[in-house]
């Protein structure tokens, strides 16, 4: 059934991990010169499949045909020898090395122990010109923007003469403009004869960039279709296994009095550089304020300052009128601030403790969980059972080790803990990152419910769609400053994109000769 122009054929690929079958008999055919999207929710098995193709995992069963011949790919080196390259979602670059040094990393360039970069530079320049991938070869990687770093990753693969390029969720770190550029680059690569496998869970991207699309669900192929002959709704149905509502049902609600007020807030990053440069904004009761921006522009530091994990160097934070500037995390929690942290596994839970204990992480010092110096088991168990039922946490028992739970269930646990006690402000950082569609919907609904209860919600997310879908108001952050504010109904994607890239709202509007009044507050 493989057509003659099939460059890669995967047959019956099976990959098991303890407790899960990540790939369950996958058949896939990639044709020469196409952009082939692998679409699926998180955990559908896309990345596992591509890691098998790139030699990072060995399949438990099945075979890989390259140009019609069976091959065994036991390492990335073998994959590259077969001209298969991969650009990982999290880049594999050495920040302190230059672009050209990163490109030749692991290759045997030059003669003997000496590096000869002359030919490397020539080749890089040629590739850059050919595919529109301009980067300064002498620049250190840490100085580059995320979009430029991604170009370096692509150059690395091209330098190694890759003909098949696997891109793992390449847009998750880019601004809309950078996404446009990336897509243009991918087109040029395909026109030059390369083949691209594009992993994503975003339907828009599939429709925009791909020639054909394969939908994965729970480790199986649901369908492979020419993109022309399908549409978003039908893809979504196949991906999730049921109809999906794209717009969240959101009642209009008049925001109340300000819950959180931030004035002139400044703070330093871990490296001691200014990360927040004079932020002023507020979040009202019954309002969700979304912070849009490419990650690394101060969102993390802002969240940490608000939750007592980082010191503010200037400015003031007040909660329902009382100042909480530079109070301890414990005091801020007690004042009614809930925190859904960005890295839920690293920060939000203790993976080696069980569900019951993790649910008590913030309330273990208070009755009924504690009496004198002792912890009481029975109330803790009851609390855990309540949370499991209320938040639909799928777990064998309340004494199951949290590291054995899926990402979605860990996030439900975190929410169950944080939303207990009716906080007046919820600071949620990337609350749906890495979650499947079902869990994502549930998390968003929970945030809306909290809003309707009268809590203020501050949401940061890399996913612009999420910000626009959940928030009542959007702030755009760039380099530690707020570049502009929108009511969600008035938001213009193009404009937000420009602000995310560092333009100011006033300038953007002036340039577009839009005469709008009152957009800025």
């Amino acid at each position: 059934m493989a057509t003659s122009d099939a460059i890669i054929v995967l047959r019956g690929i099976v990959k098991r991990f303890p407790g899960v079958v990540a790939n369950d008999g996958i058949d896939l055919e990639i044709r020469r010169g196409e952009i082939h999207c692998l679409l699926g929710e998180n955990g559908a098995g896309k990345t596992t499949l591509m890691r098998i193709l790139y030699g990072l995992y060995q399949p438990d069963a099945g075979e890989i045909l390259l140009n019609g011949r069976p091959v065994r790919i036991d390492s990335p080196r073998t994959a590259l020898a077969h001209r298969i390259g991969m650009v990982h979602q999290h880049f594999r670059l050495v920040p302190t090395l230059s672009v050209e040094e990163n490109v030749i990393l692991g290759l045997d360039e030059g003669s003997g122990p000496l590096l000869r970069l002359g030919r490397t530079r020539e080749k890089l320049a040629r590739l850059a010109a050919e595919y529109g991938l301009a980067v300064d070869p002498k620049a250190k990687v840490w100085q580059l923007s995320v979009g430029q770093q991604q170009r370096v990753e692509i150059l690395k693969a091209l330098y190694r003469e890759a003909e098949i390029l696997i891109m793992d969720e390449p847009t998750s770190v880019l601004t809309p403009q950078e996404v446009d550029q990336l897509f243009a680059t991918l087109r040029r690569l395909v026109d030059a004869g390369l083949t691209i496998v594009f992993i994503t869970h975003k339907l828009d991207e599939v429709m925009r960039v791909s020639d054909r699309v394969t939908v994965l669900r729970q480790g199986r192929v649901v369908a492979t279709l020419p993109t022309r002959e399908t549409d978003k709704a039908s893809l979504a149905r196949r991906m999730v296994g049921r109809d999906v509502v794209f717009r969240l049902e959101k009642s209009r609600r008049e925001p109340g009095r300000p819950v959180l007020e931030v004035r002139d807030l400044e703070a330093l990053s871990d490296r001691g550089l200014p990360a927040l440069r004079g932020l002023t904004f507020s979040v009202c009761a019954g309002e969700i304020v979304g912070i849009a921006g490419v990650s690394g522009n101060g969102q993390k530091e802002l969240v940490e300052v608000l939750t007592g994990l980082r010191r503010a160097t200037r400015g003031e934070v007040t909660l329902t009128g009382r100042t909480i500037t530079n109070r301890s995390a414990r005091e801020i929690t007690a004042a009614g601030v809930a925190h859904v942290p960005e890295e839920r596994l690293r920060v939000g839970v203790v993976p080696n403790l069980n569900l019951r204990e993790n649910l008590l992480l913030k309330s273990y010092r208070h009755p009924p969980y504690s009496r004198f110096l002792f912890l009481r088991q029975r109330p803790a168990a009851e609390n855990a059972r309540r949370a499991i039922e209320l938040y639909q946490i799928a777990t064998p028992s309340e004494t199951t080790c949290v590291k054995l739970l899926s990402g979605g269930n860990i996030q439900r646990l975190v929410l169950a803990r944080e939303l207990a006690g009716e906080p007046c402000l919820i600071v949620a950082a990337h609350p749906t990152y890495g979650l499947d569609v079902g869990a994502t919907e549930q998390v968003r609904q929970l945030l809306l419910k909290e809003r309707d209860r009268g809590a203020g919600v501050l949401l940061t997310s890399e996913d612009l769609e999420e910000i626009l879908c959940v928030s009542d108001r959007v702030l755009v952050m760039f380099a530690g400053e707020i570049m502009g504010t929108f009511r969600t109904e008035d938001a213009d994607l193009q404009e937000i994109g420009l602000l995310m890239a560092g333009s100011r709202q006033a300038d953007v509007r002036h340039a577009a000769s839009h005469r709008q009044e009152g957009g800025m507050q």
């Binding site: 303890p18 060995q58 994990l309 920060v347 939000g348 203790v350 080696n352 912890l375």
Partner: protein
């Protein structure tokens, strides 16, 4: 992960208690096997050596009593270390903390002039505080400045040992000792009662067992124990939950150092009756206790068993010297082997290793 296709390594969710036990026994067996090679090199049949050790240590009431005597300091130090290790503070300094306890006990016993009835309680209190203080120095250095705990606690051992040498050669050198580097003998009121016919200072033993129970309750049942575990397992989550890493670190080292200090008091008041060279007082109890705590998998109650086990080994060291004429340091080699295999075997607990069938 790139592995040669001969072995297959898969992650195991959580090792069962049975697996942990089996792997520990396996590690000890491996250490015994390698040590057998050493005996062979010395020209002694390993089987005969092990038989002698067992007979010597376990074959007589006196041998058994010696095992218990050795187990007392191992128990106190080991329990303290389980607490520190739970907070992922790598206290390698129980040896020095023990010595400081010994110094403090000697100081109080010889120079305090307290009434007889108060002397022993004061010695235990002073020993606890001195051991704790010695442990708090590296704890504070780590909590405040981020200095590596392994290095600082280890270095403090040398400082403690030289402090002891200086005292017994200098200011505290005994007047009745005819030039030997000892302090004077402690008064009788500063000596612990022994179980007749043995060298077991039972008060320290009872104290050790009671504190073991207390430590177990502390780490499993209390708020503080919860904080210790959270700080140890995931310091980021601890910070996020508003727990103080500094306070917890100081607390565990107060406990860990204090218990080691008590062990030092027991050795002075129960065994030696004076301060003498550090190697005579401790013989590496503080280091062996690391293995004791590790083999107990950081469970204070299990330390009772592992401390006795190493009591057997240390008593076996005496047999090696007296019956076989071999250097007693062989025991240190054996202890090192056990720790080596224990740590090496962790992978067997967290991963399942099997032979891979060859695929095409």
């Amino acid at each position: 992960m790139k592995a040669p296709s001969l072995l297959r390594v898969e992650r195991r969710p959580t090792p069962s208690g049975w697996t942990v036990f089996l792997v520990s026994v396996l590690a000890i067996a491996a250490a015994l096997a390698v040590a057998a090679g050493l005996f062979q090199v010395y020209g002694v049949s390993p089987l005969r050596a092990y038989q002698l050790i067992l007979q010597g240590a376990l074959g007589s009431p006196l041998g058994l009593a010696e095992i218990v005597r050795r187990a007392i300091p191992l128990l106190l130090c080991g329990v303290g270390l389980t607490v520190a290790f739970r907070a992922v503070f790598w206290n390698i300094g129980a040896e020095g903390q023990l010595l400081l306890g010994a110094v403090a006990a000697t100081g109080v016993g010889l120079f305090s002039g307290l009434p007889d009835a108060l002397l022993l309680p004061a010695m235990f209190l002073a020993g606890f505080l001195a051991g704790a203080a010695w442990g708090l120095i590296p704890a504070a250095l780590k909590a405040k400045l981020g200095l590596n705990d392994v290095i600082t606690t280890l270095m403090m051992n040398y400082v403690a040992a030289f402090l002891v040498e200086w005292l017994i050669h200098g200011p505290w050198k005994g007047t009745q000792m005819r030039g030997f580097a000892y302090t004077d003998k402690l008064p009788d009121a500063a000596r612990l009662a022994l179980i007749p016919g043995t060298r077991i200072h039972w008060l320290t033993l009872v104290l050790g067992l009671a504190l073991t129970l207390l430590a177990y309750v502390l780490v499993t049942r209390t708020r503080v124990g919860f904080e210790i575990r959270v700080v140890g397992e995931n310091p980021h989550a601890a910070r996020f939950a508003g727990m103080s890493q500094v306070k917890t670190t100081l607390l565990v080292m107060l406990i860990s150092g204090g218990l080691a200090g008590l062990a030092g008091v027991g050795e002075i008041a129960g065994v030696h009756g004076m301060l003498r060279s550090s190697s005579q007082i401790s013989m590496g109890y503080g280091y062996t206790a690391i293995i004791v705590a590790w083999l107990a998998r950081r469970n204070p109650l299990a330390v009772i068993v592992t401390a006795l086990f190493f009591g057997v080994i240390m008593a076996g060291g005496d047999v090696i010297k007296s019956s076989l004429g071999l250097p007693s340091q062989l025991i240190n080699v054996f202890n090192g082997l056990i720790l080596f295999f224990l740590i090496g075997s962790e992978i067997l607990m967290n991963y399942r290793v099997s032979l891979a069938r060859r695929r095409r």
